[in-house]
């Protein structure tokens, strides 16, 4: 594919450089000229948006670390110092805290897009798995970052989540102490969380490169799910997708700015503006909105250990998607049943998120159990079953050729 877009150095310097560090060749082939399906819709812009948000988080994070004190006696006040004294400190801190919400919002849309259009299927399994690892590391990073302001929610979220580890048989207690660096969440915990919260985003950054590498070997999937057949199906990434993605990014940025400037604490919890108090637990402990579905799954199960396993299982199951859904047809456009179950699944995730913020009693508990069941059933029962039973609708022959492929049904 790349042969159509061969890079030819134009002058003696670039020729010299090309034989030593082919960075211009790389840029040209993988960013500027990269052949991209011409029919990608706006759901495909979130990869670009996510890259920008990762960079935003890293830059604002490095800046916050210049003013923040990772010490249990100073942390809360140092955040207020940033908010009140540091030049534009409030802007940078609100950008960082709301940035994480935007990051997760974008990653969820990105993942649901992959799920809908079958982007995890052969030959993109590694791409999907790398994405799952990135997502898992994002959760870990966000959780540790949430502890740093050392408010009540920070402290108690850390306590609750680390206590989950304690449910593991035999090693539970020693592992908990190892993670805490003590017998309860305290200064050592805060210190190591700060250190790791600073480190992991750079690992994510590296993984993003692998993710893009793994994307550029088979090339992009597209809304039809039909593979690229030739030049007539593609356009160069630049300027077509750089401009289109940037447009989408600005739209997303508008939403981001609305939160920063007009509703900066809407996605947070008031209790986190109360300094951590190890002797007093807030009435309800809730995680940030983007982790609520997992919290709902955790609390849907009466057995503590089983609840923890299910919660982690809900992420682990994602890694096996390429082998659970073996249907050759990628896009849900041509899979009416999968499409229906997919939308139920989206609603199910939203419902789980809603339930994660409620007290698990009565109807809420029942709903949590039903929706947890559906969450797993979608992957473990529905996907393999549909792979065997579903008859896909007629499909076009190619991206630029809308004629119906008569052989598609034989796949």
């Amino acid at each position: 594919m790349n042969n159509d877009y061969e890079y030819v150095p134009k002058n003696s310097f670039t020729r010299w450089l090309d034989t030593r560090l082919p960075i211009l060749r790389f840029t040209n082939e993988h960013i500027l000229q990269f052949p991209t399906p011409k029919n990608l819709n706006y759901f495909w812009t979130f990869g670009f948006i996510l890259t920008f948000f990762l960079i935003t988080q890293i830059i604002t994070g490095v800046i916050l670390a210049m003013h923040y004190a990772p010490n249990s006696l100073l942390a809360f006040d140092s955040i207020e110092h940033i908010m009140r004294d540091v030049n534009y400190g409030w802007l940078i801190r609100y950008a960082h805290s709301n940035g994480s919400s935007m990051f997760f919002l974008a990653v969820y849309i990105h993942m649901f897009r992959g799920l809908y259009y079958g982007s995890y299927k052969e030959p993109r399994e590694v791409l999907w798995i790398l994405g799952c690892i990135i997502y898992f590391l994002m959760i870990v990073t966000a959780f540790m970052g949430y502890v740093l302001p050392w408010g009540q929610m920070s402290y108690w979220a850390a306590t609750v989540i680390i206590n989950l580890v304690g449910t593991l048989p035999i090693i539970g207690d020693s592992l908990t102490q190892l993670l805490l660096g003590g017998f309860a969440v305290d200064n050592p915990t805060l210190n190591r969380f700060f250190s790791l919260h600073y480190l992991i985003p750079f690992i994510i950054f590296g993984l993003v490169f692998l993710h893009i590498w793994a994307l550029h070997v088979p090339g992009n999937n597209n809304p039809t799910g039909v593979s690229i057949q030739g030049k007539q199906d593609t356009v160069a990434f630049h300027p077509y997708y750089t401009v289109k993605d940037f447009f989408a990014y600005i739209v997303f940025l508008l939403l981001f700015c609305y939160f920063i400037f007009y509703n900066p604490n809407a996605l947070g919890h008031p209790d986190n503006y109360i300094e951590a108090d190890p002797m007093l637990t807030p009435a309800h402990i809730v995680p940030e909105w983007y982790l609520l579905p997992f919290y709902a799954i955790l609390r849907a199960v009466p057995d503590k250990l089983f609840g923890v396993l299910l919660m982690f299982g809900s992420i682990v199951v994602l890694f096996f998607l390429p082998w659970l859904d073996t249907m050759k047809v990628r896009s849900a456009r041509y899979r009416p049943f999968y499409k229906m179950f997919f939308f139920i699944f989206v609603l199910d995730c939203l419902l789980l998120g809603y339930l994660g913020a409620q007290v698990p009693e009565g109807i809420y508990l029942l709903l949590s159990r039903v929706s947890t069941f559906y969450y797993f059933a979608f992957f473990i029962l529905i996907m393999p079953a549909l792979s065997r039973l579903e008859k896909p609708n007629p499909m076009p022959i190619g991206i630029s050729n809308p004629a119906i492929d008569q052989n598609a049904r034989l796949d």
Binding site: M83, R84, F246, F247, F261, P270, I274
Partner: protein
């Protein structure tokens, strides 16, 4: 564009869903709906009213400050733009009414000095234990972030301060040292006794000091204490979002023009 509106619709519904789920989360079902008297700093163009802020400061310093600290606030903040905007001389005079001992003399004894603009507001109690023992075992919370730290924000503060009731509804038991306030979550009683009474203070600008007036003014002041950047933030937001709207239109037109060649 169809896709982008779809995406936006999804975003908005997610946010709405979680917004409502959080809001419904902490409010006790028996708690009446929080009063919303309307404040000048609400909304995208909201700014603080200077005279409300100044009166609110007077209420804080003459009433609240006997039990509640505002640790995060320095005297210099009273001068800065977007706050009560007291004059420098006025603020120096306020600061110098308080002392602090933070340096040692040549014999190792603490030196007491008057507070300066760069100093923080003093706490009424030397430490948390002292505060608790002076208040029947309850700690009067620091008010620096109180508006951000309570569900309902400034409206909650207003409702609470103006909403003390003498008669306890039937079926509720409120122990002797606690007071009944319908707005307090849980309703089992609040440790703070009713702090405001009509004409408790005399406003320097002559405004009649009713309970509601004082509750309102101090809610304004505490909102500023919690979010001193509010005015700057909203003004900057207007510029940034205005800029982005124009930019997004340009980007849309550019994208459309560029892609015309493809289809």
């Amino acid at each position: 564009m169809q896709n982008i509106s779809k995406i936006l619709l999804i975003l908005i519904s997610i946010l709405f869903l979680y917004g409502t789920s959080y809001a419904s989360d902490d409010v006790n079902q028996e708690t009446p709906k929080i009063l919303k008297p309307g404040f000048s700093f609400e909304g995208p163009f909201g700014v603080f009213d200077r005279s409300e802020l100044r009166r609110g400061y007077q209420v804080y310093s003459e009433v609240c400050s006997s039990c509640h600290s505002i640790d995060q606030l320095s005297f210099r903040n009273l001068i800065q733009k977007g706050g009560p905007e007291f004059s420098e001389e006025e603020t120096k005079r306020i600061a110098s009414q308080y002392t602090i001992s933070d340096r040692f003399d040549d014999y190792g004894e603490l030196i007491e000095r008057k507070r300066l603009l760069s100093d923080r507001f003093p706490s009424p109690f030397p430490n948390k234990k002292a505060a608790m023992s002076a208040n029947n075992g309850s700690y009067p919370p620091d008010l620096s972030l109180i508006v951000k730290a309570r569900v309902g924000g400034h409206n909650y503060i207003y409702s609470l301060l103006s909403g003390y009731e003498e008669t306890i509804p039937e079926g509720l038991e409120v122990s002797g040292i606690l007071s009944y306030n319908p707005w307090y979550p849980g309703s089992a009683g609040i440790a703070m006794m009713q702090p405001l009474y009509d004409d408790l203070i005399e406003y320097s600008d002559g405004t009649p000091a009713t309970i509601n007036q004082m509750a309102y003014d101090v809610s304004v002041f505490l909102s500023w204490v919690s979010e001193p950047e509010l005015e700057v933030r909203k003004k900057m937001g207007f510029v940034v979002i205005g800029f982005l709207i124009i930019f997004v239109i340009l980007m849309y037109l550019s994208t459309r023009r560029l892609w015309k060649e493809v289809h």
